[in-house]
Amino acid sequence: MAAEVEFASVPISVTVNGAKHEAAVEPRELLVYFLRDRLALTGTHVGCDTSQCGACTIHLNGRAVKSCTILAVQADGAKIVTIEGLARGETLHPVQEAFREKHGAQCGYCTPGMIMTAVDLLEKNAQPSEEEIRHALEGNLCRCTGYVNIVAAIKWAAEQMRGRNVSR
C-alpha cells in the first residue's frame, strides 16, 4: 500500500553546506528532492530522469555525484556541499567567478552542476588539459553554450586557483 510507503519514514542526519540537518525521509526519496524540497536548496536542478544531464551534481563526502542517483537515506551521515555552499560569504569560488568572466552560463540551468563538477575536477587535477576538462564534463549536458565557454571558464579558473592556492 502506498500509505505504508509514505509513512515508513527513516531518520537521517546530514551536514549540508556546514549545517547539520536531522530529518525523517521516505525510503524512496531521492537526495535531490530532499535538498530541493526539504532544505529549499533549489540551486541543485533536475534535468532528466536517467542520470545523464548532471544538473543535479553536488559534492558528497568530497566527491562530485549526481544527487538524482542517490536516495536520501543513503546520504545518512554524509557531508554534502551544494552550489549554495560554494562561495564564502560574498567571495565567489574561482570557478564561479570564471563562469561569469568567460560567459560560461546562458540559461543557467546546467550551470550549478557544471560548476560542482568543475570544482571536483580542479581539486583532483590542478592543471587539466583541454581533453581532461572535456572528459570530466562527460556526465554534464549543456544545450546553450556548445561547451566552448564552459571549457574556457574551467581553464581560466585553474589558472586563478594555481595562483591563489584555493581550497574549500
Binding site: 526519496e29 533549489t42 534535468g47 532528466c48 540559461c107 572528459h135 546553450c144 556548445g146
Partner: protein
C-alpha cells in the same frame, strides 16, 4: 573581457552578464523552485499507443489512494488547446487537454491526478487502468500521403492539414529552356529541443479570483492569451510569470495541455497546483523540430547560372496542432532561393498529420531545412556541371549593389555581401590548403571532404515587439520589454542599449521582462528576434523619452527646448555645458508640480513593427574525415563566418553562435527522434537521444563581416540561430564530398557511423 560601466561605448562592448551572479550561485528561480503553502502536485497518465480508441478508463482505485485530491479523464473535462488558422482551408482537429475517445500520439495524456505530493500523484496515476483498442498508425509524412495510408486523425478525410504554394516568375519556361536540371530528394531529421530545464507550471488561485501562473515559457503574453481561450477564463485576470527559464530553443513557445490542466485544477480546487515534466514526458510531448522531406529541381544554364527552382516540402506536423505547429514548413516559401538570384521559383508545402509528437519551431524553425535544401542542390549542380563549388555560388549571389533585393518569392532582403562573407570563410579556413590536403588524403584512399554553405537567415518578424522606458521619480531607469529572456542575456544587452542612449551607467538601468502584470503586451523571444525587435522597440521608446525629458530640462534650465542636448547623466544647454540638469532633477520635474503645456510623467511605450525581417547571412566551411573501416565521422575543422549587422555585445553573440553550432552538429551527426514501424516511439529519454557532450565538440573558428541593417535603428540582425542554420549543410556537403570518390551522392542526416559504414560497404561492394 571588458568590464565597462562608463556611460559611453556600451553598444559593441563585451560586457559581463548582469544575470550571472544569481545563476552561478544557485539562486536562480525556475518554475520548479516556486514553492507555495498547501501546494498540490499533478501527474498524468499517458498513452503508450500512437493511435488507439479508448474503450474504458477505470480511476476507482486511484481516487481512493492516499493524498489524492482529484482525478480527471477526458470524459470529465472538455478543454482544448487553441490553434490559429495560418493558411486558408487549414484543418484544425481537436487538441483536447485530456484525450477524448481516442489517442493520436504516444504520450497523449489520458488522465490527470492531483495529490499532496509528486510521488503520491504519480502512484495514483499509475493505478489508473485504461483499455485501448489499437488503431493503425502512420508516422512518416510521405507515407501518410500514399493511397490507403492510415488516417492519423480518423475524424478527417485525409492526412493533409494544409497545402500552400508560392510562385514567382515563369517557372515552366525556365525549366523548358534549361540546359541542365538537378533533381534531389532530401530529408531533415526529427529533432528534440532538449532544453535542459523540463517544462513546468505552478498555478495559484488568488483570493480575488484571479489566477497567477508561473510557466517555463518564451512568450508569456501569447501563452496567456491561449490559456485564457483554453480555459474560458478572462485574459486580464491571468498573470503569467516566466521566471528564470532554463532554455527553450522554440520548444517553450506554445501553450501546452499540462499548463491548462494545472490551471483548471487550481481554479477548481482553490489550491496551488504544480506540474513539472519529467525528461521522459518531455520527449513525447514537447514540440519537436524539422522532419521535413524536400523534393527539388534546380534549372541551370550550362555556365552554372541558376534560372529556376521548384521545391515541394512534405512536412510532418504530428498529431495535434500547437499554436505554432503549422509555421516552420512555411519558411521555405520565403527562403527557397537562399542567397542566389533565381528569378523563377515555385514552392509547394504540404503539411501532414501523423501519429507522432507535434512538431513546431526548433532553433532555426524551417531555416535549416531551407538552407540544407538549396545548399545541397547547389553542390550537386556544381558536381554535375563540372563547375567549381565556390564559382557557382559567386556567379549566382545577389550582389551588394542589388540590395534591398526583392526575391522571386516576393521577399525583400535588406542588405548583404555574400561574396565577402565567403571570402572571409575561405581565408580563415585556409581553403586551398584544405583542398590540397584532402586530395592527398584521397590519393591514399582516405575519406576526407570539404563542405561549404553560404546562407541567409531571416530574423525578427512574427509581428511586433514592445518596449517601455520609464524614468522613475529618482531618475533611475526601468525598461519593460516584451522580449522574454531564457538565457540570451537580455538584462545585459538591453541595459547596454539603454545606458548608452540615455548616457547613464548600466547600474542605473533595470530590465524587466517575463511578467504579464508588469509588462505591456508583448510577443516574446524566438526566431532570433529579441535584439532586432525588442532592441528596436527599446531604441524608439528611448528616443521618445529623451525628447520629452528635454522639455522638462528646458523648463528647469530656462532655455528653449531646441537648445537642450543630452550630456553624461542628463541634459545641458547647447554651447553652455555648465548649465545642466541630471536625470534625477528632470524626473523630479516630471513627477512634481505640473508644468504648463507638458503632461506629467516620463514613460514611453513603443510597439515596434518594422514590417520586414532582418536578413543576416554567413558562410560556413567544414572539413570532415570519415573512418573507412568504422564509418566514424570526425569534424576536423569548422569555420563560421556570420554577419548579424551591428553587434550589441560580441561576447553574447559568440555565445549564441557556439550554442547554435552545437545543436547543428547534433543534427548533422547524432540526433534523431525515431519511431518504429508500428508507430511506437523508439526514442523516449536521453538514453536514446544523443545530445552532444563536451567531448563531441570540435574547435570552432569564428569570423565575422559587418553589414549593418539599414532598416533598423541600431543596424542589427538576429544571430541566435546562425549555427543551426548554416553549419549542418556545410557538414552535409563535406560528408558527401568525402564519399564522392565512392560514387555516393546522397545520404540524409544524421550522419551516424553505422549509416555511413553501411553506405561505404554498399558502395565498395558495387
Amino acid at each position: 573581457m571588458t568590464t565597462q560601466h562608463a556611460p559611453t561605448g556600451l553598444i559593441g562592448a563585451s560586457i559581463r552578464r548582469v544575470e550571472d551572479p544569481v545563476l552561478i550561485t544557485g539562486r536562480g528561480r525556475y518554475v520548479d523552485d516556486v514553492q507555495l503553502p498547501g501546494m498540490l502536485h499533478m501527474a498524468l497518465l499517458r498513452s503508450p499507443y500512437p493511435h488507439a480508441k479508448i474503450i474504458s478508463i477505470d480511476t476507482s482505485v486511484a481516487k481512493t489512494m492516499p493524498g489524492v485530491e482529484a482525478v480527471l479523464t477526458g470524459a470529465d473535462i472538455d478543454l482544448n488547446i487553441p490553434s490559429p488558422v495560418m493558411i486558408p482551408g487549414q484543418k484544425i482537429p481537436p487538441h483536447p487537454v485530456l484525450a477524448r475517445g481516442a489517442v493520436h500520439a504516444a504520450g497523449a495524456p489520458v488522465a490527470a491526478v492531483v495529490a499532496r505530493t509528486r510521488a503520491l500523484a504519480q502512484d495514483a496515476a499509475n493505478a489508473i487502468e485504461v483499455e485501448y483498442e489499437s488503431l493503425p498508425a502512420v508516422v512518416n509524412a510521405e507515407k501518410a500521403l500514399e493511397p490507403g495510408a492510415p488516417l492519423a486523425r480518423e475524424e478527417l478525410d485525409s492526412n493533409i492539414c494544409y497545402t500552400a504554394t508560392k510562385k514567382g516568375g515563369d517557372v515552366e519556361k525556365a525549366f523548358a529552356e534549361a540546359d541542365h536540371i538537378v533533381r534531389m530528394h532530401i530529408t531533415s531529421p526529427r529533432q528534440v529541443a532538449m532544453a535542459i530545464e523540463p517544462r513546468g507550471a505552478v498555478a495559484n488561485p488568488e483570493p480575488t479570483g484571479d489566477l497567477t501562473v508561473w510557466l517555463s515559457v518564451q512568450s508569456p503574453h501569447r501563452v496567456r492569451a491561449d490559456l485564457s481561450t483554453a480555459l474560458g477564463f478572462p485574459e486580464h485576470r491571468i498573470r503569467v510569470i516566466a521566471p528564470d527559464v532554463g532554455g527553450g530553443f522554440g520548444s517553450k513557445g506554445p501553450l501546452y495541455r499540462e499548463y491548462a490542466l494545472a490551471c483548471h485544477f487550481a481554479l477548481k480546487l482553490r489550491k496551488p497546483v504544480k506540474w513539472i515534466a519529467t525528461r521522459s514526458e518531455d520527449f513525447v510531448t514537447v514540440i519537436q523540430g524539422r522532419d521535413q522531406a524536400m523534393t527539388s529541381e534546380l534549372a541551370l544554364k550550362r555556365d552554372g547560372t541558376m534560372t529556376g527552382l521548384k521545391v515541394r516540402v512534405v512536412a510532418n506536423l504530428g498529431a495535434y496542432l500547437c499554436s505554432n505547429t503549422a509555421g516552420p514548413p512555411q519558411r521555405m516559401m520565403a527562403m527557397a532561393p537562399g542567397c542566389y538570384q533565381i528569378r523563377n521559383v515555385h514552392v509547394e508545402v504540404v503539411a501532414v498529420f501523423t501519429n507522432t509528437v507535434s512538431t513546431g519551431p526548433y532553433r532555426g524553425a524551417g531555416r535549416p531545412e531551407s538552407v540544407l535544401n538549396i545548399e545541397r542542390l547547389v553542390d550537386k549542380a556544381a558536381r554535375e556541371l563540372g563547375i567549381d563549388r565556390l564559382e557557382i555560388r559567386r556567379k549566382n549571389f545577389i550582389r551588394p549593389e542589388q540590395f534591398p533585393y526583392k526575391t522571386a518569392v516576393g521577399v525583400e532582403y535588406d542588405s548583404g555581401d555574400y561574396e565577402r562573407s565567403l571570402a572571409e570563410a575561405i581565408r580563415l579556413s585556409k581553403f586551398d590548403d584544405m583542398i590540397r590536403d584532402r586530395d592527398q588524403a584521397r590519393a591514399r584512399g582516405e575519406l576526407v571532404g570539404v563542405g561549404v554553405s553560404t546562407f541567409v537567415e531571416p530574423s525578427g518578424g512574427a509581428g511586433f515587439e514592445s518596449g517601455t522606458v520609464r524614468i522613475e521619480r529618482t531618475g533611475e531607469i526601468t525598461v519593460l520589454t516584451g522580449s522574454s529572456s531564457h538565457g540570451q542575456g537580455h538584462e545585459t544587452m538591453f541595459a547596454q542599449i539603454a545606458a548608452e542612449k540615455l548616457r547613464v551607467s548600466m547600474d542605473h538601468v533595470a530590465i524587466r521582462h517575463g511578467d504579464t502584470l508588469a509588462i505591456q503586451q508583448g510577443v516574446g523571444t524566438f526566431g532570433s528576434r529579441s535584439a532586432v525587435m525588442g532592441g528596436g522597440a527599446l531604441c524608439l521608446a528611448i528616443e521618445r523619452v529623451v525628447d520629452k525629458a528635454r522639455r522638462f530640462a528646458a523648463h528647469l534650465l530656462e532655455a528653449s527646448h531646441e537648445d537642450i542636448v543630452q550630456t553624461d547623466g542628463g541634459f545641458a544647454v547647447v554651447g553652455t555645458p555648465d548649465k545642466k540638469v541630471t536625470w534625477r532633477q528632470v524626473a523630479a520635474a516630471a513627477y512634481g508640480r505640473p508644468l504648463p503645456g507638458i503632461e506629467p510623467g516620463l514613460q514611453e511605450t513603443v510597439f515596434y513593427d518594422p514590417r520586414r525581417e532582418a536578413w543576416g547571412f554567413g558562410a560556413h566551411v567544414a572539413l570532415v574525415r570519415i573512418d573507412r573501416e568504422t564509418g566514424e565521422p570526425k569534424i576536423e575543422k569548422l569555420v563560421l563566418v556570420d554577419d548579424c549587422g551591428t553587434m550589441i555585445n560580441p561576447m553574447i553573440v559568440e555565445g549564441q553562435i557556439h550554442g547554435g553550432v552545437a545543436q547543428g552538429l547534433g543534427e548533422a551527426f547524432r540526433e534523431q527522434m525515431l519511431y518504429g514501424a508500428d508507430g511506437e516511439a523508439l526514442t523516449g529519454s536521453l538514453i536514446g537521444y544523443a545530445v552532444p557532450h563536451a567531448e563531441n565538440m570540435p574547435p570552432l573558428i569564428l569570423g565575422e563581416t559587418l553589414t549593418p541593417n539599414p532598416f533598423h535603428p541600431l543596424g542589427v540582425k538576429g544571430v541566435g540561430e546562425a549555427g543551426t542554420n548554416g553549419a549542418p549543410s556545410a557538414i552535409a556537403n563535406a560528408v558527401i564530398d568525402a564519399l564522392a570518390p565512392l560514387g555516393i551522392d546522397h545520404i540524409d542526416m544524421p550522419f551516424t557511423a553505422p549509416k555511413l559504414w553501411n553506405a561505404i560497404k554498399k558502395a565498395e561492394g558495387e
